[in-house]
């Protein structure tokens, strides 16, 4: 029996070893917030956080995640409150079709957890693995900056 800790909850599986984390999240558990647009580690839509790092779940084997802490987009909001990053994306108009947004928000969370006050260039580099075809990058950049402000104010 393999145990995966996802969003602070343990899930038991018997994994063959071949399943990607993305398949387990979406097909086994119904965490469909995590998307993929390429299945080959190019688009970032499948990003999840594993032990504090942004990881592409489409090329990560679920078995390798046993014993680690996995956070998906579904794990960010608490009760009825959006996570400040989610709220910032909503407020700054950073969402168009929305398909890339879970991955973008995960990438943003990883970035801000490590570097709470990133420069413009650091944000661009932090999000460079994530494609938004609606190309709403200016508003996404605004959202990340705004989230950084809110998070730092909360921490001060």
């Amino acid at each position: 029996m393999d145990i995966l800790n996802i969003n602070n909850k343990d899930y038991e599986f018997s994994l063959t070893g071949y399943e990607t984390l993305l398949e387990v999240l979406r097909d086994e558990l119904g965490f469909t917030g995590t998307k993929t647009a390429c299945s080959e580690a190019e688009c970032g839509a499948c990003s999840v956080i594993i032990n504090g790092n942004s990881v592409l779940s489409c090329i990560t084997l679920a078995k390798d995640c046993v014993g680690k802490k996995i956070t998906t987009i579904e794990g960010l909001a608490k009760d009825d409150e959006l996570h400040p990053i989610q709220q910032a994306f909503l407020d700054q108009g950073a969402v168009q079709c929305g398909f890339c947004i879970p991955g973008m928000i995960i990438a943003t969370k990883t970035l801000l957890d490590k570097n709470p006050k990133p420069t413009e260039e650091e944000i661009q580099i932090g999000l460079d693995g994530n494609i938004c075809r609606c190309a709403g990058y200016p508003q996404i950049m605004k959202a990340v900056k705004h989230a950084s402000k809110i998070i730092n104010k909360d921490n001060d």
């Binding site: 469909t32 390429c38 579904e74 959006l82 909503l90 969402v95 947004i101 609606c134 190309a135 990058y137």
Partner: protein, 779 residues
Amino acid sequence: MINKNIKEFINPVGKSVPRIDGRGLVTGQTKYTYDLKFPNMLIGKMIRSPHAHARIVNIDASVAEKLPGVKAIITAKDTHNIKFGSNEFFFPHTVDQLALEADKVRYIGDELGAVAAIDEETAQKAIDLIKIDYEILPSVTEMMEAIKPGAPQIHNARNNFGVILPVNFGNADRALKESDYVREDTFYASAAAHCSMETHVCIGHWELYTDKITLWQSTQAPFKVRETLAKTLKKNLNDIRVIKLAVGGGFGAKLEMLPMDFAACLLSKKSGGQPVKICYNREEEFSFSRRKHAMLYSLKSGVKNDGTLMVLTGEVYADGGGYCSYGPTVMAAAIMRIFMVYKIENLRITGYRVYTNTPISGAMRGFGGVQSGFAIESHMDLLAKGIGMDPIEFRMKNITHPNMVTRNKLIISSNGLKECIENAAAASQWNKKRGNKGYYKGPILKRGIGIGIAADVMGSKMYKSHESAGSIVKVEEDGSVYLFTGAADTGQGSDTALSQIAAQALGVSFARVKCKAADTEITPFDTGSFASRVTFISGNATLNAGKDAKMQILNIVADKHKLEVVDLDIIAEEVINIKNNSKLLSFDKALELCYSFDYGQQIIGKGSYNPKTTPVDFRTGEGNISGSYGFEAQIAEVEVNTDTGEVRIIKMWDAHDIGKAINPQSVEGQIEGALAMGIGYTFYEDLQFKNGRVVNPNFANYRLPRALGTPKMETILIETNDPQGPFGAKGMGESALLPTSAAIANAIEDAVGIRIKELPITSAKMIKALKEQNQKGEG
């Protein structure tokens, strides 16, 4: 109180209210078709031709059928062999594709069948076991080869011309003679891919005993898909229900039925009624969905020394691929857009859309306008240069203006093009920067500034005699407002904008509105999300529905209070007696009254809108195609590295006549997104083929714009309050990428004096041109 934000969102039109579907999208809870699954659901896969051009001799699926887990296999013999197309109404001769090809395949990937199995692996195994005998035919994959006499015939079309559009106004020959300066230029705009993040995906379900067909589809035009499905499956419209969920981008690729949609339904029937899901992977999306037409513009035009644009002549060739799709109207738009932008009396351009044995070209954001924008706006700069005139001065002299009828009978009412140019020029400090003035010109890095202008329609009749939209606004007794619209939000935010319009029309807070969009069995008809039509056309339908609902409420209030209904209005959540400007009762109380013992009347407002246009003859280009026209000017400042050929954008300015911004934040998002897309197309997006096969069908080899490298952008919204628009609004989803490539190419010429006429503008092309310039200088 139904929502704590009710006060915040009163009078929502013109405010950047958050997306109505935003919470679901940022939490990952919103369901796309891609996320959907049903019990007993099968996975379908298309059987595709490995050959660019071949006759189908025999298909033997007997071994595949016996493979455990295979539930259904279909080929042309399971179908009625009815052809479909996308411009049936105006171009019936371009209806040229079968859902499953019976005799011939015309590109690598052409569909000749489909398999449904318990999983994708089994479906793929079955496809590998199907034995197909082909008689391979000579193929032609280059457009300029395909038009040569003796080239392989792909359809029954002379010289492989799927569409020929000769557009002729005035007397071109005389105008050329009367011109002081005449020049010829050839431009090439490359093929590109839509790359929606959510690939094409659908689930078909055919209930055997009721004969009811449901298709869940990632789509821009559910009603159009229903129509094509009904035709090809030989069913009635009301046998078919197409349901749109959240859509992960469309950009024109999801405007029509693909064979996969047809196949999902038919496979479901043949498997005994199990739902069948077909989802393209990224390689399939690149190779077998739709693409932007590569176009070649060969232009010869003349101007007077005083800057008067006399005449445009030439040919446009578009690589259409194996079938016509939206090609005819794309070609028409690619030629005729110029009439919206420039006052021009003489024009003689013939468009040729050419069949080749390559994947199908169709509609893509800009609809021929991106290619023509690059060609025409580059050409205009060169014409201005030829007579020594500043590009802005030249444009100001020739642009269309408010309240005019163009040579081809477009009726332009509001027109902010002049203001767009003036504002973009002022914001970018054009006069200070243009003309290679020394201070921003280093030894290696050289800066320049360039302009491009454009205009766009707000809708276009493409596949039906009308292009109406309908809306229903239902107000419940608890004061909640439900908007039912057939418009398809594919990410642009139309559900939000339409809900703002509904709330404003009704006089209530946006926070009351819930939007139910695009289900052919529930929501009113709407032709779809294309031609930047939704805010304008569906917006007007929604405005009418909101007003109708309001009148129903006011009639009851008037009756109860013994007042004249004309003296009443609902403003900011209150029923007002406008005679003495007094508050009569709150919206909630008014609804209590409507649903009271005395009245018990449901409030259901309806609205329909079909823009005031005149019949358009697509062949000649005459007629008023749209109810309103939008305009813009774009300026690019670039820095060219003369050592590496690299071009960096310092900043882009886009001044845009959007009539009225229903949601300024959304409008800016659309403009910035289109700009970024235009920049990608200018510098690196290039769908490449070898012998008819896409050779870069992935994000590693087909580069897309990313956060890193997105330059600074400034958007300037010009509000001209169009008399036809809902609250004065126009559509604007596509136009911001029309002039981008030309603005950049024009800026490059300003920086270093070289002219790139072929997209994409790569460093290699820049270096080559810079070298040639040096050699010329030395020689």
